[in-house]
Amino acid sequence: MKIPFSYNIRNLWTRRLTTALTVTGIALVVFVFAAVLMLAQGVEDTMVATGSEDNVIILRKGSSGELLSAVSRDQIGIISTFPEIAVTNEGKTFGTSDVVTIINLRKKQTNDMGNIIVRGVSAGAITLRSQVTIKEGRWFKQGSTEIVIGNKIHDQFENVEIGQQIQIGSKLWTIVGVADAGKTGFASELWADAENIMQEFNRTTTFSSYTFKLKNIGDYETIKTKLETEQRLQDLEVKKEQQFYLEQSQGMAVFIKALGLVITIIFSFGAMIGAMITMYAAVANRTVEIGTLRALGFRRRSILTAFLIEALALSIVGGIIGLILASFMQFVSFSTTNFGTFSELAFGFSLSLDIIGWTLLFSLIMGVFGGFLPAVRASRMNIINALRAS
């Protein structure tokens, strides 16, 4: 590269109005691009954070989620005897048999109904899932019709204050506490005593899932093989809890990415054409300069590079601005139905290094496509004709 970079930068500055407009166009597209990736990442992050890395979940084979799964009391009894499972201070198995169902509640902002997961848990659940703590009020008593609601449900739904009652099955259940589950899927759930919920739905022998903690993370493959070869557990499936929740987020994440990226790619044509028009105008305005540079001995390739760099400078500045705008989206969070679980999930926009990399690459690609043809035109000019343009 022989032509100095400052030549390009100052030319961009000289025509700052068109530069600003072009950069704005690119920045907006980049903003949408980054926001889409951040949203998909947000769903994944929320779901993955729901699981713990040393937890293992047992479901019925082939069930896409807990709602359609069934694990019998007898099977849980067999599983809980395995020595790889951690034990509490009181000598009990470190696990929870959960039963999951769905109810409808009304949202505060839109007045729409949302599907809420009601999770009946065993006594072990609270110590097993240390990311869930009580924020207000207290935990429900076992054998009672008391419930605790997740913090996101508390934020986003109507009539869910402590002391208020919610209809689940045939009974009214009293809210006695608000749980703080941070940014996990549990924040969008209601928790109650598993046995009581089961009675309510007449399912006395089958739970939805069984989750336990490993003594040692390294034992996962061992216990997986043991469980899968056990005759009475043939209809069950063993998964790491984080893997299970990641799978629950994939449908949603892929949908957001596919829809979002199709839209941004369409927008990006607009931005690229904008950059192209700007660069063609720049080439036309600087015809004599190009002829002069060539006469002085600069090669066609130097001219090509110079104009390409100018377009790339436009696009990278647009990319950085778009990224900065998108990073503010990290403060935004909302709640919608996760297709993976058919139930409400609150999640936000989450920025990662990968997303920063992809976004900057995306803006550079727009710069290359927008700048290439004008740069080729500049480099292919005939010296004599370019000089005669004065």
């Binding site: 100095p4 300069e289 002829g291």
Partner: protein
């Protein structure tokens, strides 16, 4: 002694679609080293065309052009670009400075194609700006300079690489009397003190007086005064 520039039987025909426009026909011209040649002639007679051929930014339809031993009509495009950067200094009628670069940076431009050290470049640029009397205007942009000053920057740019040949196409054509006079004095100095060989096209008989030799180009033929 062989002349620095030998133009032999050069013809140039421009083609526009099927139309052929013969501009130069069998032109021969020798320019010895140290010459200051003024090329005159009516508009459209092919003066610019001849300069373009000698400076290697255009190729003849036939004939040969040998400058300092190199037959430039035989060089390929990229070799020719390199040859120009070493051998030709251009002074244009409308100065053709880069508007976004300062006087200093404009003079630096052709040096970017050389392997000189940073220090050498700086010394040369400052020296040339001193020769053209613009040491105090180094950081000015072209728009902050008068036409005459811009042309002096352009001359500094043309000679900073110490080229074999200085080429000027109506270098005073856009200037008022006084500025033109300054430019001509400067060219004469470059020719006398710095031994620069100069070929200059001009319409102005007064300007031509500054040169050592005057040649007329008319209807594709050269005649000496």
């Amino acid at each position: 002694m062989t002349p620095l520039v030998q133009v032999k039987n050069v013809s140039k025909v421009y083609k526009r679609d099927t139309l052929e426009i013969p501009v130069l026909q069998n032109i021969s011209l020798d320019v010895p080293e140290g010459e200051f040649l003024a090329l005159m002639g009516p508009s459209g007679s092919g003066k610019t065309t001849l300069l373009n051929l000698i400076s290697g930014i255009d190729l003849p339809t036939s004939g040969s052009i040998v400058v300092a031993g190199t037959d430039i009509a035989k060089l390929n495009e990229s070799a020719l670009a390199k040859w120009r950067s070493h051998n030709i200094g251009f002074v244009f009628q409308f100065y053709n400075l880069m508007p976004v670069l300062t006087a200093y940076e404009n003079v630096e431009l052709p040096l970017l194609l050389t392997n000189l050290s940073k220090k050498e470049k700086k010394e040369r640029i400052e020296m040339m700006l001193k020769v053209v009397g613009l040491s105090d205007r180094m950081d000015h942009y072209p728009r902050q300079l008068s036409g005459g000053q811009q042309q002096r920057v352009a001359i500094a740019r043309a000679v900073v690489t110490d080229p074999t040949l200085l080429i000027g196409d109506e270098p005073t054509g856009d200037l008022d009397r006084k500025s033109a006079e300054e430019i001509l004095t400067l060219l004469e100095r470059l020719n006398k003190e710095f031994k620069k060989t100069i070929i200059m096209v001009t319409h102005d008989p007064h300007a031509a007086q500054s040169a050592r030799t005057i040649q007329h180009l008319d209807k594709g033929e050269l005649t000496k005064n």
